[in-house]
Subunit: 377 residues, 4 copies
Amino acid sequence: MSGSTLGTHFKISTWGESHGTGIGVVIDGCPAGVELCEADIQTYLDRRKPGQTPYTSPRQEADLVHLQAGVFDGKTTGTPISLVIYNTNQKSRDYSEIASYYRPGHADYSFDAKYGFRDYRGGGRSSGRETAGRVAAGAVAAKILSHLNIFILTYTRAIGPVAITATADQLLQAKRSSLIQQIRHHPLQMPDPQAAEKASHYLDQCIRNKDSAGGIIEAIITGLPAGIGEPVFDKLDARLAAAILSIGAVKGFEVGSGFLAAASTGSNNNDSYTISHSGQIQKNSNHAGGILGGISDGSPVIFRAAIKPTPSIATTQTTINTSGEEISVCITGRHDPVIVPRAVVVVEAMTALTVLDLLLANMGAKIDYLEKIYKRP
Amino acid sequence: MSGSTLGTHFKISTWGESHGTGIGVVIDGCPAGVELCEADIQTYLDRRKPGQTPYTSPRQEADLVHLQAGVFDGKTTGTPISLVIYNTNQKSRDYSEIASYYRPGHADYSFDAKYGFRDYRGGGRSSGRETAGRVAAGAVAAKILSHLNIFILTYTRAIGPVAITATADQLLQAKRSSLIQQIRHHPLQMPDPQAAEKASHYLDQCIRNKDSAGGIIEAIITGLPAGIGEPVFDKLDARLAAAILSIGAVKGFEVGSGFLAAASTGSNNNDSYTISHSGQIQKNSNHAGGILGGISDGSPVIFRAAIKPTPSIATTQTTINTSGEEISVCITGRHDPVIVPRAVVVVEAMTALTVLDLLLANMGAKIDYLEKIYKRP
Amino acid sequence: MSGSTLGTHFKISTWGESHGTGIGVVIDGCPAGVELCEADIQTYLDRRKPGQTPYTSPRQEADLVHLQAGVFDGKTTGTPISLVIYNTNQKSRDYSEIASYYRPGHADYSFDAKYGFRDYRGGGRSSGRETAGRVAAGAVAAKILSHLNIFILTYTRAIGPVAITATADQLLQAKRSSLIQQIRHHPLQMPDPQAAEKASHYLDQCIRNKDSAGGIIEAIITGLPAGIGEPVFDKLDARLAAAILSIGAVKGFEVGSGFLAAASTGSNNNDSYTISHSGQIQKNSNHAGGILGGISDGSPVIFRAAIKPTPSIATTQTTINTSGEEISVCITGRHDPVIVPRAVVVVEAMTALTVLDLLLANMGAKIDYLEKIYKRP
Amino acid sequence: MSGSTLGTHFKISTWGESHGTGIGVVIDGCPAGVELCEADIQTYLDRRKPGQTPYTSPRQEADLVHLQAGVFDGKTTGTPISLVIYNTNQKSRDYSEIASYYRPGHADYSFDAKYGFRDYRGGGRSSGRETAGRVAAGAVAAKILSHLNIFILTYTRAIGPVAITATADQLLQAKRSSLIQQIRHHPLQMPDPQAAEKASHYLDQCIRNKDSAGGIIEAIITGLPAGIGEPVFDKLDARLAAAILSIGAVKGFEVGSGFLAAASTGSNNNDSYTISHSGQIQKNSNHAGGILGGISDGSPVIFRAAIKPTPSIATTQTTINTSGEEISVCITGRHDPVIVPRAVVVVEAMTALTVLDLLLANMGAKIDYLEKIYKRP
């Protein structure tokens, strides 16, 4: 079956392993007439590059994107867009040891169980490097969303036990550009200097302990009109959940008040409606996280993803080898002690892909829309 | 777009509103040769029926399923199965009031924004009644899974702030049949008599306050072979997340240690491998919740869903009407003060549908499988 | 796998057998706001009813459609539409004989080979009765197309060796309403009284010989704007071909000059362009059948389907029984000596479904369209 | 929408234009464990290369395939396979003229109507060069089919009015290997030396007249087990028709007796069953072309495709330019006077892709199959 294809309308198909030719993605269904160049995409890829901070793998990967098809005269043609990022920094080392056992917390065993064998070099297809294709495609989706004044803001809410204090609602009070600047310029992508400093200390400790950390990423979608998402199975939150859980290392997803809502009451959790000064319908609170019945309600869409600690750690662990013997292993190599900061842009990309796909899906929601496009006077 | 269709291989299409002819589902892709009768399905539907306990709506709905196609001589034929549950207990009342305003916490406003108008009788398609079609189809999926010795156990972990104390791992120590009996026979579907009693008191309080409660549902899949789920976008956890978040009122999903993993460390969160007495590969713990890299690892798959409090409450709330005026409303009618116990079987059904679809998807994973089916000697 | 589901945007799922409860269809993805009632659909179903002429089965089936969901206050709600036609005229006869052998030209053997057994009553799912669901769904699609001034005209081009003489282009010169009247009022659905008479004689001869006839159906789509159909795999003609070949008994499909084009030359087959009096781009001929590169070119779309002779004949045939013995059979019962006239509306329905699905697909073709729907001033 | 993706289980996504970086394809859903190398694919690509005979374009394109992902240690890993053929022989010429008008018989106008503009260099995405991606993917599918002893034989049945005399049934009497040799070694891919010679003369005449020719391609699938193809919409013939009509220039498709069946009678067209010497069920004739009710019946599957004459001709034609003026044009350049011989392998590739996808679909047809794969003792 085909697990590397996502989307119904803006459909992407990713390919590539950590240690092959490269990582690529084909976008099938991009609307024509969108101005697009490699720099639009490179900006996003640069945000997930390793080697930029003490808290990411020291690997140096240029991760340069090549736009191979689907753009002519600087604009998308409506036909497939092919993007590739060549692998340039694979160390040619001996993988025979790693081939011989199952790393705890990795997909080594489950891949073997599924396919009978695996590409063990650098994790093969289950490597975090696979997300480069998602980010490249997500950059294209985000460009289109920006034309419609829809923006996605993602950042680190927590590193291990250290969280920022402001709520998403409070962060939305700040000017968008300065908030982005604050997030992007801190290695941990946290919009809270004090929390970021504490988190740095926590991470230093983890590194000293040859251990690793997890965290929480939060995303806010602004400008999304009410009415996006399909009732029943293709709810906006259902599709977002699938997109976010499809990122390796994500173990949880919640929208709005999320798990806290489970312990609340109806009178506290319901968001009452009011009319804004400009005459718009709006909610007095946003426990719903901008989604009611699976359909956007015009408020900002807010959700969180829980990321597990990096499984590759230098501490000694017990496992078994492919001969079925118990052994002790100690995983060395160039691993991120925490992947949360680099995953921030991956969450943003997956969100952009999902939202654009559902915006396209919604274009057939009303006969009015068909008449607007097709009816001749 | 088509939001009421789920699955690629075992594909279901649900239809129906709270106050129309009924609720139905068409299953397209059911393997031939499975013994199936209405009673197999009725057992599941009976578990979501209202009117059975003080904590559910007093509506009396027989919810009898009719098997209309796809079964011949007591066995599935491989062609579409059509199931319908006729609506028999709609009160013909005046809905003009409810048509005139947007209920807080409901999908009234978002439906209007999407489609330009809505079927306001009893919530139309966003009614909880829509889940009857899911449960009917899920019963068929569960029957097939049971042939493969795959079972799903679902129960209430928490009602409001009151949770059971045993972990999923601890519950798995009990005999399956007695555990099921304990769950099914308590109105709150909680496998912990003390917690259940506390939860009952909490709910009584909510009812007195004209308020409502949420809660947490937990699910355990046992017997699932390692290797199920597709890497990248169709990960087992991603597909489960989408299935579960597609249930109205679910606001969060987590697998294994979930959000707790975000605050843990690699050395604590990794599950080491060992060899069982019978020579099987197994993990010494199950923080992963039975899924590594999106693929089942042979351990029990464990996940949780956060359910928000029922939005229909008799407390006075402020909202706006369709003329854009702020008004006060007080929602009367036959509403569940908590939907968690009735949603337990819905979670089970969605899980069965998802797991079966991915088992079918996995049949093309290896050339060995094709040769086993097609190669003639 | 799920073979009874069609379409990506306007998705239909049909169910039902010849001798079960009935035949039904669920439409998932119908735009909201379309006026729809049972009479809109009944008109189409009446055109495929048997028992109306000497050239169709004498079975009397009311084939009344019931609209069960998806319409409120006389308009589609955007949620699934469920349509059912109950079986009312199955003769309860002894099917044990037909169960015991494989009828030549029928799907008895291939169903057994696929599923291990079959519902042998009246052909089960491979009965022509299955098309009632397609026609019901197609009527809804046609209603939407008519809002966009897109119309489909289908008729019998040939019965056995007897064909009408006018080309599609010539027929298009006639007034649409009088052409429709001419087609609909002749039992053979042929817009050519002389050919129709000859065809009637030919059929009378077939009936006397206890034999059956095939024929050719032609379809013309008018009003379809240029630009519909997707390059590469989802070409308009590719999707039409699949839709038409999916009708049992269809053995061939051709668009425009079709098989004749294979023997022509480029200079004869190319259609040159010109500017109409009203300033529109148009072609001087239409060998292309209104499709270039898989995309509509603004000319009428013209195609033909070849229908094989009804396989159920009263002549003695040799076959084998399920014990593997050669036997002689003589198929009695109420069979159409030719299914072409009744298949005309089936071709029309499948065309409407395909064209509407591709119109919806095309709504994401240009960023202009997204801006027209979503961009706020 | 996404028109460049094909298949549900063995899913391919093609990309690339005539004058961009290259032509590529991503295969998502290839079973693991299949031995695969570039040479397996190159063999197929070499069969569609231009510049090999007097009847094809004199362009010299190496068309070397690069295998970029999805294979490890010489075997498919089950994850996406990426294949690319770089463009190496685009002439950098001035396309401003061709950009300014609509070539008769080409997709220039319909692309402009759809997307608002087009990549006019060499036809962009509607170039015949697009088929390289299909052939590359088809080679992989064919390799898998050969493991299951399923083979596809394709050849030229007719060039313009000149056809071979042997029927497909008669050709099947010959030894497979010698038949293939005969087909492959003649530039026109015709298994009939006399017809091939006549066709050569006919083509010489066309070339002298600055004109072009079309033709008919026939395909035979042998070794396909009975039971493949899904009833109703995903019939084997429906899916083949879509696959074949999706090849540019194909204007017709017929299976078995095809359009001739329309003029036949039931008693002549029905294929009676018998038992072979080895005890197998078989048909005494094959008017059905190996498909009954959309499902393979165990006989060879036989179908034909009608190919229109190459639209690029050096004869003067009238058309309009993008300013709406009528002009005369004369299309020069390196064009094939007939594309039929090069399209033979494209038909073969599309057939392989379709058959493999339906074989994978069929793996869920019976509970027996699931038990065979999943049930543990």
